[in-house]
C-alpha cells in the first residue's frame, strides 16, 4: 500500500508535461485566413503570349507579364487562372499538338524586356490540362521565349531560353528534349550575353528550325539591344547544326529579331530586324525559306521598340496577311508591302493570334489585357474579367469602407473602394492620373488626392469634390541643378502636418502647402555617379530614352510616425540617409548596413511606430542580377542594423510592412508573393491562401480594420482581412488544443441600397470584405473524427444560431451574419418567400460555444448597432419587438395549420376505414377546408400562376418587411399589423367554433367507437422539429 501511495505521489509531483515547441512557421499558421482579390480588371495588365488550342476553338490561353496563365474555355468570353501556385511572370505558353487537352507547357519569365519586368523560375509542364504543374527545369533561365513541339512526335520539344536580363548567364540558348522533358541538350549557344529570342518550326518539316539570337543587357540605368552576336539561324537537321541566314541583311550589328514562317506556305518567312542602318530596320521577307531576304517596310509600326514588340503573326490560311505587334499593332494584307494600324484598343500590342478556323476572329494581347476582334482586326473589344493590373504602389485612406489608391504600369492612377454593394465592380474605380501611374496618396484630412506620372513629369493634386486638378511637381529654381526624378518618383505625406507633402529627386523636396511652394531640404543624397546618368544613349541600336532608366535618384521617403523631424531616405543607388532635425542635417548611414552589396537599390524604408529610431529597410539587387532577399532593421537611427531575413524567403524583396501593434509581426512583399513572420524575422512563412506567388510591390495596413492591403504587379489589389489574430500567435497559443482569438465588437452594418449586377456575367467583380461577425479560433490539430459543432447562444444559453465551424489545423475563421433562424412557416400549396427571412439579433454579447467531442469551449463576441444608423434606439426596440411579435405569430400559425392538416388527414383516414364516420368527419373536414382556404394559399404555383395571397402570405410579407428594415415601425406597418392580427384572431375564433361544434361531434363519434382522437405534437415539439 505504501508503495502504491508513494508511486502515486511521485506521479503527482512530476512536473507538468513540457509543452512541445511548435515551429512558428508553415502554411498551417494561417489556417483558413484567405486573401481576397478586388482587381481592378477594367484596365487589366500586360499580356506576353497568346496561345490557341489547335483543334478546339473555345480554348484560348493568355500568358501574362505578372499574373500567371489564364485559360478561356468559352472562346475568350471569360478567362480563369490556371497557374496560381507558380511564378506569375510568363514568357511562353505552348499546347501539345497531339494531346492538346492534356499537355500544356509554360515557360516563365516575361520576354518583352522593359525596365519593370518580373522574373521567371523555369519551365513547367502540365499533363492534365493545366490543373497540376511539374517544374521541368531551367530554374536559372529567368526568361523563356519559345517552346516548340514537334507535331509528329510530341516528346520532341525545343525551348528557346532568352535568359537573364541584368547579368551574364550561360543558361541561354536553344535546348532540345526527345523524351518529353526528362533530359535536355543545349543545341545552340552563342555566349553569356546572347539569348534565344524566337525559335520556330517549319509547319511542314519538323526538322527545319529557325532561331533568332539576341545580344542584350539591361542595368538599373540603361539598356542595350544589339551586338555582333545577334543573328538569325536555321537548322535543317532538327537542331544538330545551325547556319546563319543573313543573305540580304545589312552588315554590322543586329538587335532583336522577330521571325515567323507562314503556316500555309513554308517557303515564306517574315522577319523584323533592328540594325545599325535605320533605313534597313523593320520588315524583311524571304520567299525561299530563308535563303534570301528582301527589305519591305520600315514604317514606325514595324520598327518601334524592338525589345518590346518583336512578334509577327501570319494568318494561318493566307501568307499575305501579316500582323506585327507594336504601339498600336500593324496589319498587312499585301504580303508585307504596306501596313495599317490595328483597330483601337489599349496600346502596346505584344502578341496577336488568329482563330483556328476563322481569320475574321483575332485575339490580341496588350499592355491592358486581352482584346477580341470579330472583323479582321478593325474593331476590338476588351476581355473584362482579367484582373491583371500591375501596381507599383498602393495606399489606403480611413474612409468607411476604406479606399485603395494606386498607380499602374501603363494604365494611369486609380482609386476605388475595398468593398462595394454587389462586390467591387469596374464602375467603382475612379481615374486620377494618366500615363504610367505610381504613387497615389490621399491628403490626410482633405478630400484631395496626389498622383503622378513617370519621372514626376506631372504630379497632380486633385480636388475630388470640385473635380479640379493642379500640377504641383517640384521644378528647379535659379541656381538649382537639373532634377533627377526616378521613373517611379517618391512622394510622401506627413502624418503630423496634413498639408505637408514630400517628393524626392536627388534632393528631398518639402512643401507645407500641398505642393504650391517647394523647398529643397537636403543635399544630393545619392552617389551622384555620372556613369549612371546618361540615359540619352540608352537602348543600344534603337535609342530608348523613355525616362524609365533614370538613376542615382531618391526612391523612398519615410517620415517617422512618432517624430516629424525624423525622415528616412533610400536611393536607387544604395544610400540610406536619415535626418533627425527635419532636414537640417543628414547622416549617410549606408556604411552601417550589414550584408548588403554596395549600391543595392533601397526599395523601401518603413519608419516604425514602435520607436522613433526604429526603421526597416529592404534592398533589391535584381537590376544587377542579384536575386537575394535583403531586409534590415535598426532601432538606433541607423547606427546599427540587424538582418531580419531567413532562408525561408525566396526571391528579392520590394516592400515591408510592420504591424502597428505587435513589433514581431511583419509582412514582406517579394517577387514571389507575400511572406509573414510572427517572430520578428527569425522565421518567415509564405502566405498562399488564395494568394499566388505574384510580385508584391507595395503593402499597406489599414489601421481601423487591420486589413493588409497589397499592390501586386500583375494581380491587382489583394487584401487579407483583419490580420489581428496573427498578433496573438505565440508558443503558448500554439500549444493549446483550441484557442479563441480576441475580437473587437462587430458593428452590425446598416445598408440597404441597391446594386445592379449588369455585366456581371463576363466582368470581374472583386470580393467584398465580409460585414458579418468574425469568430476566429486556432485548432492545434485538424478535426477529422467525431462531432464538432458550433452554436451562437445568448448569454442565458438559448441557441440563436448554428454555424458550420472550420476544422483546419491552424487559424479558422467562421462568419455569423448576426441573424437567428428563420421562422417555421405554415404549410401551403406554394412557398411564402417572406418566410425565408432570418431576423437580426439585437446588439449585445453572445456566447460562441464550440463542442469538440466531449469538450466544450466558449468565447464571447459582441455586436454593436451601426453608429451611422438613421434609427433611434427606441425605434429600434419597437422594430425588434414587432419583428418578434410577427415571428411568433407566423410560427403560431404554422402550428395551427399543422393541427388543422393533421385533423383533416385523420378525419379522412377514419372515413375510409369507417363509413359511419362520414356524417361527422366530413362536416369537420369541410369546415376546416373552408377555413384553411382563407388562411393559406391552396392553389397555383410559385410564379405567374400564383394564387391571391391569403392570411399567411400577408403575415409573412409584413414580417419580412419589418424584420429587414433598419427603421422603426411605421404607421402603415402598424395599421397592416392590426388588420392582419384581427384577421388572424378571427380565424382562430372560427377554428375554436369549428372544434367546439364539428370537432366535438367527431370526437364523440370516435369515443363511441373506441377510436383514439387525433395525435398531435405539442407546439414545442412541432417548432423544435
Amino acid at each position: 500500500m505504501k508503495r502504491i501511495l508513494f508511486a502515486l505521489g511521485a506521479l503527482l509531483c512530476m512536473p507538468a508535461v513540457q509543452a512541445q515547441d511548435i515551429a512558428l512557421k508553415g502554411k498551417e499558421l494561417f489556417g483558413d485566413m484567405r486573401a481576397r482579390h478586388i482587381g481592378p480588371a477594367l484596365m487589366s495588365g500586360r499580356i506576353i503570349d497568346m496561345e490557341a488550342h489547335p483543334t478546339d476553338p473555345r480554348i484560348i490561353y493568355a500568358g501574362t507579364a505578372g499574373g500567371g496563365v489564364w485559360k478561356s474555355s468559352d472562346g475568350a468570353a471569360t478567362f480563369s487562372p490556371i497557374f496560381d501556385e507558380h511564378a506569375q511572370s510568363i514568357g511562353s505558353v505552348a499546347v501539345d499538338p497531339k494531346n492538346p487537352d492534356q499537355v500544356i507547357w509554360v515557360g516563365t519569365g516575361e520576354i518583352w524586356t522593359r525596365n519593370s519586368v518580373s522574373v521567371g523560375d523555369g519551365l513547367y509542364k502540365s499533363t492534365d490540362g493545366g490543373t497540376n504543374w511539374d517544374k521541368i527545369g531551367f530554374e536559372k533561365s529567368e526568361r523563356i521565349a519559345s517552346i516548340v513541339i514537334n507535331p509528329e512526335n510530341t516528346d520532341i520539344v525545343y525551348v528557346g531560353v532568352l535568359g537573364a536580363l541584368w547579368s551574364d548567364s550561360d543558361e541561354r540558348g536553344v535546348y532540345k528534349t526527345t523524351n518529353g522533358g526528362k533530359t535536355w541538350d543545349k543545341i545552340l549557344y552563342v555566349d553569356q550575353t546572347t539569348g534565344a529570342a524566337d525559335v520556330i518550326m517549319d509547319p511542314e518539316n519538323p526538322n527545319v528550325l529557325y532561331a533568332s539570337m539576341w545580344e542584350f543587357r539591361r542595368s538599373g540605368w540603361g539598356f542595350s539591344s544589339g551586338g555582333a552576336n545577334s543573328a538569325l539561324y536555321k537548322s535543317t537537321d532538327a537542331g544538330a547544326t545551325w547556319n546563319k541566314i543573313h543573305n540580304g541583311f545589312p552588315a554590322g550589328d543586329l538587335g532583336r529579331i522577330a521571325v515567323a514562317v507562314a503556316p500555309s506556305d513554308n517557303s515564306i518567312l517574315y522577319a523584323v530586324l533592328e540594325t545599325e542602318d535605320k533605313s534597313k530596320n523593320g520588315l524583311w521577307k524571304s520567299t525561299d525559306a530563308g535563303a534570301n531576304w528582301e527589305h519591305l517596310n520600315n514604317d514606325f509600326g514595324l520598327t518601334v521598340r524592338p525589345f518590346y514588340f518583336s512578334r509577327i503573326t501570319i494568318d494561318p490560311r493566307n501568307p499575305d496577311v501579316v500582323v506585327k505587334g507594336g504601339l498600336s499593332g500593324s496589319i498587312s494584307r499585301d504580303g508585307g508591302k504596306t501596313f495599317k494600324s490595328l483597330g483601337n484598343m489599349h496600346s502596346d500590342i505584344h502578341d496577336v493570334i488568329f482563330h483556328i478556323n476563322d481569320s475574321d476572329i483575332m485575339y490580341s494581347g496588350t499592355d491592358g489585357g486581352v482584346y477580341r476582334s470579330w472583323n479582321g482586326g478593325t474593331t476590338f473589344e476588351i476581355v473584362e474579367n482579367l484582373p491583371l493590373s500591375q501596381f507599383y504602389q498602393i495606399s489606403v485612406d480611413d474612409a468607411e469602407p476604406y479606399n485603395v489608391y494606386g498607380g499602374l504600369q501603363d494604365n494611369g492612377s486609380w482609386w476605388g473602394p475595398n468593398s462595394s454593394p454587389g462586390g467591387v465592380n469596374a464602375r467603382d474605380w475612379n481615374s486620377v492620373g494618366a500615363g504610367d501611374g505610381f504613387r497615389v496618396l490621399k491628403h490626410p484630412t482633405k478630400n484631395i488626392i496626389y498622383s503622378e506620372m513617370q519621372g514626376a513629369e506631372n504630379v497632380w493634386r486633385y480636388d475630388v469634390d470640385k473635380n479640379r486638378t493642379r500640377t504641383v511637381q517640384p521644378r528647379p529654381k535659379k541656381g538649382d541643378p537639373d532634377l533627377r526624378f526616378n521613373w517611379n518618383a517618391p512622394m510622401a505625406v506627413s502624418a503630423h502636418q496634413p498639408d505637408r507633402f514630400y517628393m524626392g529627386s536627388q534632393f528631398v523636396h518639402k512643401s507645407e502647402d500641398m505642393g504650391d511652394t517647394w523647398e529643397i531640404i537636403s543635399p544630393d543624397l545619392t552617389t551622384n555617379d555620372p556613369a549612371k546618368q546618361d540615359q540619352s544613349q540608352s537602348g543600344g541600336l534603337s535609342i530608348d530614352n523613355s525616362g524609365a532608366e533614370n538613376h542615382t535618384t531618391i526612391f523612398t521617403i519615410a517620415e517617422s510616425p512618432l517624430n516629424e523631424k525624423v525622415l528616412w531616405v533610400g536611393t536607387d543607388d544604395g544610400n540610406v540617409q536619415v535626418t533627425r532635425d527635419g532636414g537640417k542635417n543628414w547622416e549617410n548611414v549606408t556604411p552601417n548596413l550589414v550584408g548588403i552589396p554596395a549600391n543595392t537599390w533601397v526599395y523601401h524604408i518603413e519608419a516604425s511606430v514602435h520607436g522613433e529610431g526604429t526603421a526597416y529597410a529592404v534592398f533589391d539587387g535584381h537590376t544587377t542580377g542579384d536575386m537575394n532577399a535583403y531586409a534590415l532593421k535598426t532601432t538606433d537611427y541607423g547606427k546599427t542594423w540587424t538582418n531580419i531575413i531567413s532562408d525561408d524567403v525566396v526571391g528579392f524583396v520590394r516592400n515591408i510592412q510592420e504591424d502597428y501593434e505587435s513589433e514581431n509581426l511583419l509582412f514582406l512583399g517579394t517577387e514571389f508573393g507575400l511572406y509573414v513572420t510572427i517572430d520578428g524575422g527569425k522565421n518567415w512563412s509564405q502566405f498562399t491562401n488564395n494568394m499566388p506567388p505574384v510580385a508584391v510591390h507595395f503593402i499597406d495596413m489599414q489601421k481601423q480594420t487591420n486589413d493588409l492591403v497589397m499592390g501586386t504587379h500583375g494581380r491587382g489589389v489583394i487584401i487579407i482581412d483583419d490580420i489581428s489574430p496573427l498578433r496573438e500567435l505565440s508558443q503558448e497559443v500554439l500549444n493549446k488544443d483550441v484557442h479563441f482569438f480576441a475580437s473587437e465588437p462587430t458593428i452590425m452594418v446598416e445598408e440597404s441600397g441597391f446594386s445592379g449586377s449588369f455585366g456581371g456575367e463576363t466582368q470581374f467583380v472583386g470580393q467584398n470584405s465580409p460585414t458579418s461577425a468574425r469568430i476566429v479560433y486556432y485548432l492545434k490539430k485538424r478535426h477529422t473524427f467525431g462531432k464538432m459543432t458550433m452554436e451562437v447562444q445568448d448569454m442565458d444559453g438559448n441557441v440563436i444560431s448554428t454555424l458550420g465551424p472550420g476544422k483546419s489545423k491552424g487559424i479558422n475563421v467562421v462568419y455569423w451574419n448576426y441573424t437567428s433562424a428563420q421562422p417555421k412557416v405554415a404549410e401551403a400549396k406554394t412557398l411564402s418567400f417572406g418566410g425565408f427571412t432570418s431576423p437580426r439579433v439585437p446588439a449585445g454579447k453572445y456566447k460562441v460555444v464550440l463542442t469538440k467531442k466531449n469538450d466544450v469551449y466558449e468565447s464571447v463576441i459582441e455586436l454593436k448597432y451601426d453608429p451611422n444608423s438613421l434609427t433611434t434606439l427606441d425605434e429600434r426596440k419597437q422594430q425588434e419587438e414587432m419583428t418578434k411579435t410577427l415571428y411568433d405569430m407566423v410560427e403560431d400559425m404554422a402550428y395551427v395549420v399543422y393541427t388543422m392538416n393533421e385533423t383533416m388527414d385523420y378525419a379522412e383516414s377514419v372515413m375510409e376505414s369507417n363509413p359511419k364516420a362520414k356524417k361527422t368527419a366530413q362536416k369537420l373536414h369541410d369546415a376546416l377546408t373552408a377555413l384553411m382556404k382563407d388562411m393559406v394559399v391552396t392553389t397555383g404555383d410559385n410564379y405567374v400562376a400564383s394564387a391571391e395571397p391569403e392570411l399567411r402570405e400577408k403575415m409573412t410579407e409584413l414580417y419580412s418587411n419589418v424584420a429587414t428594415n433598419f427603421d422603426g415601425v411605421s404607421a402603415s406597418d402598424l395599421a397592416s399589423f392590426e388588420l392582419i392580427n384581427t384577421e388572424y384572431q378571427e380565424a382562430l375564433g372560427r377554428l375554436t367554433a369549428i372544434m367546439d361544434k364539428e370537432g366535438k361531434k367527431f370526437n364523440s363519434f370516435l369515443a363511441k367507437n373506441d377510436l383514439p382522437e387525433v395525435t398531435l405534437k405539442s407546439k414545442e415539439e412541432f417548432l423544435g422539429n
Binding site: 487537352d101 456575367e761 478535426h783 462531432k787 458550420g804 476544422k807 483546419s808
Partner: protein, 252 residues
C-alpha cells in the same frame, strides 16, 4: 449536383494505421480495410442521409438517397414542401421546377453524366479498377493545415457543352488516418467554369460499422448530416419521373 457529389463520397476510418503507406493502393486499402472492410462496403446496397444545409440562418433540410444500382434522389424541404432537386431511376434524371412545382426532365448531357456518376456508389475508389477508373498518387500536400496524400482520380470522360472532357478529381487523404478530408474538381461550365470546386469533409462517425463524414463544407456552405440509414426500405417508384402530376400541362 455538388451536394450529390460530396454526399456520395463514403469514407472509412482507419483504426490501425500502418507506419508507412507508399503506394496509392496501400493508401486506399488502408482507407477501406480498417473499417468494417471492403466487404462491408461492397455489401452496402443503399443509403439514406438526412442533413441540414446551413446558409446563415437559413437551414434547409436535405434528404439524399442512393442505391448501388444507380438510383438516386435528392430532395429538400421548404416550408413543409418537398422539392426534388434531383432524382434518377437509372434512365431518366429529373427535378421539380421551382416555379411551376412540376417535374421536368434534365437535358440529355446532364443525364448522361449522371449515368456515369452512378458508379461512384458507395465510393468511386471502391473497386476502381473494375470500374475502369485510374488513380494516381501525386504526392503530399498540406491541406486544412495538415499533411495529406494527394490522389488523382480519373473517371470515364463526361460531356460538357457538347464536347467530351476528361473527368478528373483530386482527393486529399489525411496522412495520419487515411481518410479524405478534401476533394477538388474543376467546375466544367457556367460562370465559375475553370475554377476549382473544393469540398471538405470532417466529423467522421460510425454507422453500423461504417464510417462517414458527418460534416461537409462546400464553398462556405456547411452540410451537417443528421442521420444515415444503411440499406433502408425504399419504394422504387420515388425515383421514377412522375410525368405531369396535376395534369395541367403535358411536359413530354
Amino acid at each position: 449536383m455538388k451536394i450529390l457529389k460530396t454526399l456520395s463520397i463514403l469514407l472509412v476510418m482507419a483504426l490501425a494505421v500502418p507506419a508507412q503507406a507508399q503506394t496509392v493502393d496501400e493508401i486506399l486499402n488502408n482507407y477501406f480495410e480498417n473499417t468494417g472492410g471492403a466487404d462491408a462496403w461492397n455489401n452496402l446496397e443503399s443509403l439514406e442521409m438526412t442533413a441540414m444545409a446551413n446558409a446563415q440562418g437559413m437551414e434547409i433540410p436535405v434528404t439524399m438517397i442512393q442505391t448501388k444500382e444507380g438510383k438516386m434522389m435528392l430532395k429538400i424541404n421548404f416550408q413543409g414542401q418537398e422539392i426534388v432537386q434531383q432524382a434518377y431511376d437509372g434512365e431518366t434524371l429529373w427535378s421539380t421546377n421551382f416555379m411551376t412545382q412540376q417535374p421536368e426532365k434534365a437535358d440529355a448531357e446532364t443525364t448522361a453524366n449522371m449515368k456515369l456518376q452512378t458508379e461512384d456508389f458507395p465510393s468511386p475508389f471502391l473497386n476502381y479498377k473494375e470500374k475502369g477508373f485510374t488513380v494516381e498518387l501525386l504526392g503530399e500536400e498540406v491541406k486544412e493545415g495538415t499533411d495529406c496524400y494527394k490522389i488523382k482520380l480519373t473517371q470515364k470522360p463526361r460531356m460538357v457543352d457538347g464536347k467530351e472532357v476528361p473527368n478528373v478529381s483530386f482527393y486529399y487523404f489525411e496522412k495520419e488516418n487515411f481518410v479524405p478530408i478534401m476533394s477538388e474538381v474543376e467546375i466544367p461550365s457556367g460562370p465559375m467554369a475553370g475554377q476549382m470546386s473544393v469540398s471538405t469533409m470532417s466529423d467522421y462517425q460510425e454507422v453500423d460499422g461504417l464510417y462517414f463524414p458527418f460534416d461537409m463544407g462546400m464553398g462556405g456552405q456547411a452540410i451537417m448530416i443528421k442521420d444515415i440509414k444503411l440499406n433502408p426500405d425504399l419504394d422504387d417508384s420515388m425515383f421514377v419521373f412522375p410525368g405531369d402530376a396535376d395534369g395541367e400541362e403535358d411536359k413530354d
